[in-house]
């Protein structure tokens, strides 16, 4: 064993909490945020007075879509009536929900930091009569959006679809193979009382789903929802005060390509540099992973991470997931056991994935618990933003 001294090992995830989650939840986003924070702090075995760090994604009131974010860090700080030693509103460079907070507690800027993400996109879509165009909250397409929105790449679906086109072109992977990702995840969602979609989904249902932006069809897209997720990150030396902390074994946030959807050089491969950097920080190997919570804004993002993380080789994800056995609850690599964003709900930016990874490693995932799970992989997005981590039992 090599001797490691990585900052993430001086941080733990101590608590997770979620509000009610649904296609729509008839409650203000700010209240959902407070619900999630309260639950996460209690889950950690702490009280709100213990919290001295606050972080929100996205900070700064950024909203390219209606319902994309809710509230402000200052309003939450005021509502909780706490004094903080560290605050962070992240817009670009999140990497992973717990990345910045782990840095803060590892270097002593805070002891217990809470990070949250609140979405009201389900209500916003219902109000608008459909999923609106990305960027439709602004009159003109600024910065990187100027090259996407004016030519008709009006949604993340359209922006990411060329990755799927190129991937399938290079490797000959087919839609009826990749169907097993949403289909299997739906079967996991059926065991998650908080999932948005729980009705069984078949490969035929998948193939019959309408095309949105080829080759991405309806069931390849995550489901806009309402809900808040909060995560408490604590200094590892506070472990005796904590109910059931989870180790951050390793994490990385490397982006090894041009950070724009249309400019990414090699669209057949995404996340590989990030995963490599993460594996360089641990002695664990892909075969040691018991359960994987891989970002799935779209099916193709899951494909990137299956290959980048080394769970299968480049171009092999189609055969890896085919039939659903390997990625099912009793398979070699149970995938997105909460249903993922495709069925569990678009809690976004791997907040839902992180919460589930923590539950699994603690043995608290109820009817969808992977027996004896000790090592969970978590990844976020891929492309312009990327993060990969392993969480392990404390």
């Amino acid at each position: 064993m090599s001797v490691k001294d990585f900052f993430e090992n001086r941080a733990v995830i101590s608590g997770i909490g979620q509000s009610a989650i649904g296609r729509t939840v008839d409650r203000a986003g700010f209240q959902l945020t407070l619900d999630a924070i309260s639950a996460a702090v209690a889950d950690a075995g702490l009280t709100v007075d213990d919290i001295d760090g606050l972080s929100m994604y996205p900070g700064g009131g950024v909203a390219n879509l209606p319902g994309y974010s809710a509230g402000s860090l200052y309003e939450i700080a005021d509502a909780l009536n706490i004094t903080t030693t560290w605050k962070q509103g992240v817009v670009e460079g999140l990497s992973l929900p717990f990345y910045g907070a782990a840095m803060a507690v590892a270097c002593g800027q805070a002891r217990h930091a809470v990070v949250w993400r609140t979405v009201k996109e389900g209500s916003a879509a219902r109000q608008a009569g459909g999923r609106p165009a990305y960027g439709s909250t602004k009159p003109a397409a600024e910065g990187p959006m100027a090259w996407l929105l004016p030519v008709g790449m009006l949604s993340p679906v359209v922006q990411i679809a060329p990755f799927a086109t190129r991937y399938m072109h290079e490797y000959g992977v087919t839609r009826d193979q990749l169907a097993w990702i949403p289909v299997t995840q739906r079967s996991h969602a059926a065991l998650n009382p908080d999932a948005v979609y729980t009705k069984p989904l078949t490969v035929d249902d998948y193939l019959g789903g309408r095309m949105i932006s080829s080759p991405i069809s309806l069931f390849d897209c995550d489901v806009p929802c309402d809900g808040a997720t909060a995560i408490v990150v604590s200094a590892a030396d506070t472990a005796p005060d904590l109910r059931k902390p989870v180790r951050i074994e390793a994490m990385a946030g490397v982006v090894d390509g041009r950070p724009f959807w249309e400019q990414w050089e090699d669209m057949g491969r995404v996340g590989h540099g990030c995963a490599r950097a993460m594996w360089d920080r641990t002695d664990l190997r892909p075969a040691d992973v018991d359960v994987a919570q891989l970002y799935d804004g779209f099916t193709i993002e899951c494909v990137w991470w299956l290959e980048a993380m080394g769970f299968c080789g480049p171009g092999e994800a189609g055969s890896f997931v085919d039939g659903g056995e390997r990625i099912g609850l009793s398979g070699d690599l149970p995938l997105n056991t909460w249903g993922g964003q495709l069925s569990g709900g678009r809690l976004h930016a791997a907040f839902g994935h992180t919460a589930e990874a923590v539950r699994q490693v603690r043995g608290e995932a109820g009817g969808r618990q992977v027996p004896g799970a000790e090592v969970a992989a978590v990844t976020n997005v891929g492309g312009p933003e990327a993060g990969a981590a392993l969480l392990t039992r404390f």
Binding site: R131, V158, E262
Partner: protein
Amino acid sequence: MSTPSADATTGIPPAVSEETRVFWDAAAEGRLVIERCTGCGAHGFPPRGICRACRGRAMEPAEITGPGTVYSYTVNYQRWLPDLEVPYAVVLVEFGQCPGVRVTGRLRGCPVEAVRVGMGVEIGFEPGPGGFAIPSFVAVGS
């Protein structure tokens, strides 16, 4: 035979910056203008006022006259805005003489289902949102 393509004027116009004005002004004249480094000769896009190859700051406008090759694409069927005409193909186009440059635009001149990775396209523009001309590549042989 050209195939009628979806009207592209419904949408969200670009916010033009000091760096990107030359691109949009040229687009209005039907020309595809990117950046070239006067030091090392490398081409760059989107325009940034710095060379990504040598980090030199002396960049000059350079016109690409094509043809290009489709690196990847999508055909969009979803009506993201109320009056958006669908379907339409969006193509990511690269140019053999300008390595590292990729420009995204609509595709005209063939049925949307005929778009393929590797197909040849000529440079073109068409009316887009807000009175801007947007890249609209034309299938070779149409």
